[in-house]
């Protein structure tokens, strides 16, 4: 296997469900169905395409840090075509912030061995969008992030990053950390064959001891951020809704004028 690809995937509460916080102000994961963060499907897809372009001279490991259920996210990625999985699972991880999570991921990536790390642009729960940059910092390798197009050839990764004010072409030597956006290309659906094959693929379990991480460095206690309160947004007072009977635009203008927008 010449090219070792590690894809970071997160198990998140379904965004279309009723997401909320538990009493300790961490995300309540028991009451809402979890799934593979949709934005990480794009990362798995690009890993598969890079492997295909490398004439299969590559091996894809999917990696997650999360509770027991997070195996579901790994299964989904394996059924899409990844080769094997690593699950970092430890009771002491409950409530870890981005600094702790990135520490665990970095150690797990080093232990697994890698030439290329691929992540999503952001998770659909924390939505920080910084973890890939932090991984690059921790691993001491180039970050080639927020790519809408990516390719790997001859030990070099290239990609396009569409920023606020310009679109940039980027280039870095491997090893590197890449993150991809949802513009990078639709993710494939697992085939029936893929789903069956996934059941036989290896899923390794690691805990904090395996990674030489102290419990104090992670979890709620080890976090460097603290959530003091979480309040549900007050329900909006019901707005005015009118049916257009030919004057809808004028009525709307009247409303906007009343609000001093015109």
């Amino acid at each position: 296997m010449s090219l070792r690809i590690v894809v970071c995937v997160k198990y998140v509460p379904d965004a279309t469900g009723d997401r909320h916080f538990a009493e300790d102000l961490t995300v309540d994961r028991d009451d809402v169905d979890g799934l593979l963060s949709e934005l990480d499907e794009y990362a798995v897809e690009q890993a598969l395409q890079i492997k295909e372009a490398a004439d299969d001279e590559a091996e894809i490991t999917v990696l997650t840090v999360g509770p027991d259920d997070a195996k579901d996210a790994l299964r989904k990625a394996l059924s899409m075509g990844a080769d094997k999985a690593v699950h970092v699972e430890d009771d002491d991880l409950h409530g870890t912030d981005v600094m702790g999570t990135s520490l665990v991921l970095a150690k797990a990536i080093e232990k697994t061995g890698y030439d290329l790390v691929i992540a999503g642009m952001a998770s659909t729960d924390g939505t920080m969008g910084v973890l890939p940059a932090i991984l690059a910092e921790r691993l001491g390798v180039p970050q080639v992030t927020l790519l809408s197009e990516v390719s790997v050839d001859g030990g070099v990764v290239k990609g396009r990053r569409d920023g606020d004010t310009a679109s940039e072409q980027l280039e870095a030597s491997l090893p590197a950390v890449v993150s991809v956006t949802d513009q990078s290309g639709e993710a494939r659906y697992p085939s029936f064959k893929g789903i069956m094959a996934a059941k036989k693929k290896p899923v390794a379990s690691l805990d904090l001891d395996d990674l030489d991480i102290d419990a104090e460095e992670v979890g709620l206690e080890g976090s460097w951020t603290k959530v003091d309160s979480a309040a549900e947004r007050p329900a909006r007072t019901a707005g005015t809704i009118v049916k257009d009977e030919g004057e809808g635009g004028k009525q709307l203008a009247e409303f906007l004028a009343g609000q001093k927008f015109i």
Binding site: H20, T127, E171, L252
Partner: protein
Amino acid sequence: MAEVLVYVDHVDGAVRKPTLELLTLARRIGEPVAVALGAGAEATAATLAEHGAVKVLTADAPEFADYLVVPKVDALQAAYDAVSPAAVLVPSSAEGKEIAARLAVRIKSGIITDAIDLESGDEGPVATQSVFAAAFTTKSRITNGTPVITVKPNSAPVEAAPAAGAVEALAVSFSEQATGTKVTARTPRESTGRPELTEAAIVVSGGRGVNGAENFAIIEALADSLGAAVGASRAAVDAGWYPHSNQVGQTGKSVSPQLYIASGISGAIQHRAGMQTSKTIVAVNKDAEAPIFDLVDYGVVGDLFEVVPQLTDEVKSRKG
């Protein structure tokens, strides 16, 4: 009084509005010291001084434009070492967040991203975040190191607060990682002459209901009558009707204007994630059951091809 580092987002010396908002927030927790990097860095000083910067640290080198992110992290770290600030504030752009995050790792600090408000607290700055597609509002703080906080556009008013704003050159030595990711080409985005989407006071957006690239002229005409920015749903972007840089939502821009007008947009959770904190929300949709109507202050159930042009005409005639 404690100093607070403020990272300056500017284009060739023109300071972008979110940085001026940061200066307002920085003054609540200390004295703002601005850090401006790259071409035109010194030209930012007058504007920054006018809005409260006591000092402006500047550096320019080819590395800032030729390589991704890390050279700017090296410079911000040099500023951090020079100042020993009480907090570091950075605008929540994609690049800003990455710069902030890498600095936080280096200085062993916790990080909070996408704050929508900031106040001074007994145990350091307290940040407000709007999470889970704006369904919850949280208050958080950083318990280790110097708080590093990124703040979303439109989170604070821009206020004049004249200060010295003395320019000082910042000495930066680049790390080994600085040249890791080369920028081999750069195509600037063409200006439309309309306000910047994330900074605009009014945003007018179109979705699948607009039904074609050519029909976006209807949305643009309304936007122009109101002096607004134009947004689009992902469905409209994926169909190729409008550029991705105008997408509003989870994987597009997140906007928080005074007024958001959605036409032909159903209001999917991922779209709401990017616009739900708008102060006033208005929608035009022919389906009375569309979820967007749950959010609106004012909604018109009707055909956008009828309602929107009529609204545009009415706005124009009222504005004279």
